[in-house]
Amino acid sequence: MDDPATMPRAPLGLPLPHDSATLHVTGEALYVDDLPEPPGLLHAVLALSPEAHAEILALDLDPALTLLGDNGLAVTARDIPGINDVGPMSGPEPILADGIVAYVGQPIAAVAAPELARARAAARAVRATYRRREAVLDIPAAMARAQYVCPPHRMTRGDAAAAIAAAPRRLSGTFAIGGQDHFYLEGQVAMALPQEDGGVRILSSTQHPSEVQKMVARVLGLPEAAVTCEVRRMGGGFGGKETQPAIFAAIAALLARRAGRPVKLRLDRDDDMTITGKRHDFHVRWSAGFDTEGRLHGVEMELAARAGHDADLSPAIVDRAMFHALNCYRAPAVSVAGYACRTNTQSNTAFRGFGGPQGMLAAEEMIDAIARDLAIDPIELRRRNLLVPGDATHYGQRIEHMALPRIFDALLDGVGYASRRAEIDAANDGPGFIRRGLGFAPVMFGISFTATAYNQAGALVHLYTDGSVLLNHGGTEMGQGLYRKVAQVVAAELGVPPGRVRLAATSTDKVPNTSATAASSGSDLNGAAAADACRKIRSRLADFAARAHGGAPDEIVFADGHVRGPSWSFDLATLATQAYRARVQLWDSGFYATPRIHYDRARNTGHPFYYYAFGAALCEAAIDILTGESRILRADLLHDVGRSINPAIDLGQVEGGFIQGLGWLTSEELVFDRDGRLRTHSPATYKIPTARDLPPDFRVRLLEGADNPVATIHRSKAVGEPPLMLANAAWLAIKDACAAAAGTRHVRLDAPATPEAILRACGRLPAR
């Protein structure tokens, strides 16, 4: 598809506002919890396990039922008519604990009442008695017991151990990477509406309506066709609404079915953070062999992730961490091992980058340590180790295009790297309690779901006889601007002003069997599917117009709301009306499956990624060696979005992704107590970045003139996840400042770089 020379343009490339921008600023945009409440609505609340791992000996609902009164109800796992399993990859993964609780916060029962306050009181009144089992809470404990949610996996190329042993120099290290709560501003919410024919309609805040539909059907024992899931918009997703919403939609549906009334289940912030899975924390061990020029000869890496109590998407997340464990660097011999540790904590899940950020941070830590060991400039060392076209990655994908040398040059042009380095080093040698550092990090992020089957999408486009257009597709809008971008594609394909394209809520009864809006793939997949539908409509209209008015179909132009032939022109409404009268179909479906991709996991070969998204960042940090506080003083980012469909939206993704990554690596700390309780379950204790944390000097650019070399929709590139990893540069800058403070070449800085972690790295607090 898409020969750049013949591609339609307007309104592609225009920085149009988010499709709901006006509704957002007036407060009129409706999220699930804002919708008018249907008559008879019950509000649901969950009763949660206080135990990390225990048998449920008895569950007493009577005190709760007394509080609930005649109009309320309570359900447990025993009330599930279908299968108590919403596991996306393996199972069973129960929505309500059945006999055993496996983490603090696991739902054990659900209650519903007409008044939310009554339901809350009843949920607190649910009584259970437990017999405790041993709880395994963290990665070291699970590794010691070899307790995993899936078999450990290894990606091997060459003989890494031999290459390291034979290399002129060797270095190894270990460090810990923290998890991250999604902290979408709109928490998990679902409303279930029983339908007249025994079916159920679900309004959910989900990135994956098809999975919500499938899981609700499975839990209720209904055919999928009896369940519809609709989502107009989410208040943020970030991966936290890929699998998790199925739990809450299924519980709401279960209650609604038993009550015969609509039920809304909206988690408050504390329950949301206590119940739902997060970004995986990792423990990393690495060992590298290299020459005196710093070129890698061999790398061994061990990536151990806290998966939580069940698998969810952890096997695929650990795989992606392994794919990115060398980031953009070449090594002839590599062995990467991945472990998804089963622990008695929340079941960790997708989060922007899907394991990639942790793998990539491990690579950057290794490269940084080698640069320090050899006293080679870290940017120069990175250049020496970059993959070049023709290389194969450690998972066997042949590199075809490599934008990083160009990005390095463009980013570093004019930022005064050498002079700032010298000035910082001189200042760090002087007196005072502030130490500064520089950090540079490239990003090479593989685009495609690594489960090949998910790389498909559908769309449904209706042209009406007045020339207006209704667009449905399988992607969901979570703030990232997908609806706007796909609408721009449709407007360009049909040659209409963007205002002519109206967006319908994503719904499983319009476009079925969709993939999650995830893996940064939303506009690649859904944009291409929508274009396919438009091209079918355009082709039929062109055939009709050629027959009716003269000319050849391929010389008819659709632009500016008009259709023009060699000797005639009509506005689209007129032509659409003529075509309708001539019984020409004015609507169509579209489909897209990403070409070329395949991966043989057992043999570690293939082409799992259609292409890569690239970027790089340079950050300057300051730390206070008395308090451990840190600040990012300046950040320069350059990111490759291909030929942008909407540069304002893409820039927003780059900026927002970086700041979210900065939070992950600095202030956001998940603290569990020894009983497995998450103690940071509200913004009072869990600190995401604020307007004060944005670097005072923040310079963000998109790479210019960078059409995607592979044939994506209008040569754009995916942008959702990759910029998050630009924040690795901020962590490296803080680490650089810590090394200056410690006065040693090597420091161990665990992520997040909290004040405590920074003081430990500086040698001013004892190591853990």
Binding site: T26, L185, S682, I688
Partner: protein
């Protein structure tokens, strides 16, 4: 439990409601008055998604009881635009893409207006510190800060 009668002014309109003594102002706005622009992001006064003004003072509606505002004047996001005419802050947020998912946006706008009402010419640091009580998980804040500063500059220009 007996309900409490409250008379207040919301976005310039006098209103009366009967309030459950346990309900917050946010509950009243959203569930009784149908003003769902104010959002519950945390329910503990930490995120700012429910920012409103009470007699001109910026407040989290989740931290105030509905019964407490008797005789007071409440400003919410729904009162920012004059009919179809968006407030300059609203226009600028749309133009400059200073929003993504939109859940924090109403609170940020109410807070930004409260800032400009008291200080029409804030420094960038003042804007950052003032808005630090409004969490945004999507944008990274840069466009929000730029938009507020731009509106302040436009207002200065107009006042001249």
């Amino acid at each position: 439990m007996s309900k409490i009668h409250v008379s207040a002014v919301v976005n310039g309109e006098p209103i009366e409601y009967l309030c459950d003594p346990a309900h917050t102002l946010l509950d009243v706005l959203r569930d009784q008055l149908g003003l769902t622009g104010s959002k519950e992001g945390c329910g503990s006064g930490d995120c700012g998604a429910c920012s409103v003004t009470i007699d001109g003072r910026l407040t989290c509606a989740c931290l105030v009881l509905g019964a407490e505002v008797d005789g007071m004047s409440i400003g919410t996001i729904e009162g920012l635009a004059q009919g179809d005419q968006l407030h300059p802050l609203q226009k600028k947020f749309v133009e400059m893409a200073a929003l993504q998912c939109g859940v924090c946006t109403p609170g940020v706008l109410v807070a930004a207006k409260a800032l400009l009402d008291r200080n029409p010419d804030p420094s960038e640091t003042e804007v950052r510190y003032w808005l630090a009580g409004n969490l945004c998980r999507c944008t990274g804040y840069d466009k929000i800060i730029r938009a507020v500063l731009d509106v302040a500059a436009d207002m200065k220009e107009t006042a001249r």
